[in-house]
Amino acid sequence: MLLIECPWCGPRDESEFSYGGEAHIVRPPEPDRLTDEEWADYLFMRKNPRGRHLEQWCHAHGCRQWFNAERDTVTSEIVRIYRVE
């Protein structure tokens, strides 16, 4: 079980959090201008790296705040936690 440091509440067990997948996926401002392929890329395609991964977490059973984390998918080490700007 990961130990995750909520930027607002401090270190808490993983069971208090929900996982939001890859971070920094920006919703296209004008979806109508996208081809089906481009839209599908936004909708479905995700990086699945072996190693460092930027991802979203939510302190669902705490302050309900979303934040970003940089985590190593091999060692589960959380390298960095930073707020959504």
């Binding site: 079980m1 990961l2 130990l3 067990d13 993983e14 929900s18 939001g20 920006v26 919703r27 979806p31 109508d32 996208l34 089906d36 839209w39 599908a40 909708l43 979203q56 939510c58 669902a60 309900r64 705040q65 979303w66 060692t75 589960s76 959380i78 959504v84 700007e85």
Partner: protein, 997 residues
Amino acid sequence: MSISQPFRLVGGGRIDRRRRVDFRFNGLRFEGYRGDTLASALLANGVRTVGRSIKYHRPRGFVGSGAEEPNGIFTVRHTGVEGSTIPHAPGTVVELVEGLEAHAVNGWPSLRFDFAGGLQWLGGMLSAGFYYKTFMWPRAAWHWYEWAIRRMAGNGRAPDGPDPDRYDKRNAFCDVLVVGGGPAGLAASLAAARAGARVILADDQPELGGSLLGARRQLGGKPAFAWVANCAAALADEPEVTVLSRTTAFGFYDHGFVAALERCTDHLPPPRRRGPRERVWRIRARRVVLAAGATERPLVFENNDRPGIMLAGAAAAYVNRYGVAPGRRAVVFTNNDSAWRAALDLVEAKIEVAAIVDVRPEPGGALAARAEAAGIPVLAGHAVVDTQGRNALRRVRAARLDGSGARNLDCDLLAVSGGWNPNLHLHAQSGGRPRFDETRGCFLPGPPVQAETGAGACRGTFRLDACVREGAQAGREAALAAGFRDVGVISAPSTDEEGTTDPDPAWAVHSRRPRPRRAFVDFQNDATAADLALAVREGFESIEHIKRYTLLGFGTDQGKTGNVNGMALAAGALGRSPAQVGTTTFRPPYTPVTFGAAAGLATGELHDPLRVTPMHEWHEAQGAVFEPVGQWLRPWYFPKPGEEMRAAVARECLAAREGVGLFDASTLGKIDLQGPDAAVFLDRIYTNDWSSLAIGRCRYGLMLGEDGMVMDDGVTARLGEHHYLMTTTTGGAAHVLGWLERWRQTEWPELRVRFTSVTDQWATIGVAGPRSRDLVASLCEEIDLGPESFRFMEFREGVFAGVPCRIFRISFTGELSFEINVPADYGRYAWDRIVERTEEFSITPYGTETMHVLRAEKGFIVVGQETDGSVTPVDLGMEWILSKKKDFIGRRSLARSDCRRPDRRRLVGLAAADPNEVLPEGAQLVDEPFTFLPVPMVGYVTSSYWSPNLGRSIALALVAGGRDRSRVFAALEDGRFVPVDVVSPVFLDPRGERQRG
């Protein structure tokens, strides 16, 4: 020697000889001492055969003296304690208590005469993969085969009733967690504690000492146990140290999270048991010192499984720790020096050692002189190649490695040692990758991945004084790394250490025959060296596949004694080194964990939180039948005395359309939205237009995922300029709130809007039916309820029955109806005021079933019933709710080619040709039942009811192409195909006149 315990030594051991303990084994009475395990007490009584092997039904005895035991597995109960059964306990870890009743797990119908014992003469028939290959035909007979195999294989009997015991869980934090209370672990704990660190020491034994409990050793010129006692006393004096005895660390997870199982009461006589039986410790440690010791491995030779053949370290432990002679005349067979010390311990206990058989040409090192002084004959460069004895060992046959010089040695105990395997389980679970060390002939921990260090035997360090030194250093460094002061180098006592435990690294199968068939590797699963060779011959190469084919390491002991031998032999057959073949995966738990401990207190009523509405007690008093909806318990229907469900629901349905139906809708999710950008936010989240909604009005909204699929729905009201109240489905409330938060925080942080769940703050009372307006008016004087002044899809604030209220004129039934929201604490009060008027307005309470029927009559969907995450609003015929003027979540996806396929399944109504036929929900729909298989499925029934208002059955369904079809057939479970007309999903009042009335 007492007559009742003929194999009890005169003195010695850590048992309390003043406290006799009566117990039973397979119905017979025996006697042991406090401090015994079930295994040591049975051996003291001369009971050597304690089970039958799983496949060949060969008699088996104890091999080990701890958690590694593969053979001596028992079902354990206690006299007079109902229901408390441990189905699969190793006798080597079960502490003896008064009234204990043990039964051999394997050996139906009896140990002495085993019905299936003849199986062993079937020889090669039951080789690896035998079950896979043989019992596959005929398939119909498999259930019989399975019954017979399971019966013969034994396995524990699961208890019949619910577990009467309580279990607990506890979270703990520490700076340094030390796993193992042996020499390395004790030294590590003390060093870390002296630096000021908060220390937890978890040890699986009843008392500290680890390997020293079973060995006769010196430390600092004194018996090692004096050193252990000093350490234990010093730890007890440290205020920041918690010593957890009888506690097995069974799993090492991410970020220093270690789970440990404490056995709290099993060692106590039942009347003295208090509190939970077992407790799971969930420990978050900044640093972990693994001092988990090592497990001895057997040697592989023909007939190496007879009762009386055990690990040399176990034989020494029975002598030194329990004062039990595991035999009267022993042979020691080894490839390393550790067994020589065991031989000397046996001699010290007046047990005759007929010979030390050592495969090494010049064995024994410094111990050789002591063995000679003790008069022990030594057969160097020899191996045991076979054994004899029908129910227990009588004789072994030893020969030179080239087969010459064979001789028989009479003995009833063969103590074997093939070297020691560091206990790498926790290291590997933490992410470490064990590597093979050729010199020491074992796998060693790899570089640490987490904040973890090994110390002592689990790191391949076997010298006693080196273990103490290494432990102290590990404890010192762990405390330092956790931010505590450096206590400096800690002096460690010297020891009487002689010899080496590095084994002869040759991995051999010792036998007179070129292809021995009875050289066992995994005792619990009867996997032999021949099985491993066969697996390789049949083409298996990966050790993970070989493991699955031969069942190596698949028993409850997880192959603690057999795995490394098996991997090395498989490597040999493949022509590779053990380093190349590697280990199989070390999965938690290290030792079995009971389901009770895994569940903890979360059983029965505490399994999941139960949510009830403020009116729940009234429902109960009315005899409501409840149904769970998520965590909520909702009234399903309200039967009158003697009334069946169908009759009750029919009565409720008619009443809601003729008089007044009364419904508890408090479980609907309610989210309060406030902020100047609330309308903009709703426009993006919902498919329809919200900016135009006037204060005081409500609107139905549909929420999609970004993939265009329907996610949730509900009515949202505009309470004020910047204030909205959103309702969600009962089950979707938490998810919707998370969804809103996610978009606002991660995508649109610039929007000024905030969300608060108010589901529990409001009680919601629905009243439906032609007379509902009169009813509400009688309790609510200040709000003008006239059809022109309070119109459909509007809301008003005011006072209802003297309490503040919000009344919504919305309808999920298709009737004139009102939803009255009052603060939750007034819910029951307001409900009672309505119920008082039952006769005046002919009020009938109804439950969720009637609610479903009423909405289905109107063709209203239920998210999660008509939708399953693959249904778009277009599929539901709800194009009208999709705004063309703005973007919203999911809109772009509706234009994807797949969402525009003409043959997508669409919502339709179904009317069975036989109006009395209520189709089962989930029934598959086909065009043409009597055609070639497979019959294409064109849709399925999503909702189906008997409609009392229509006097016939109705159903909703998703059908490919929707109403392009006019007739389909529903496939019923009884094999019938019934014709069904495809109709409009709105069965009643298609123009909606009733709800607008």
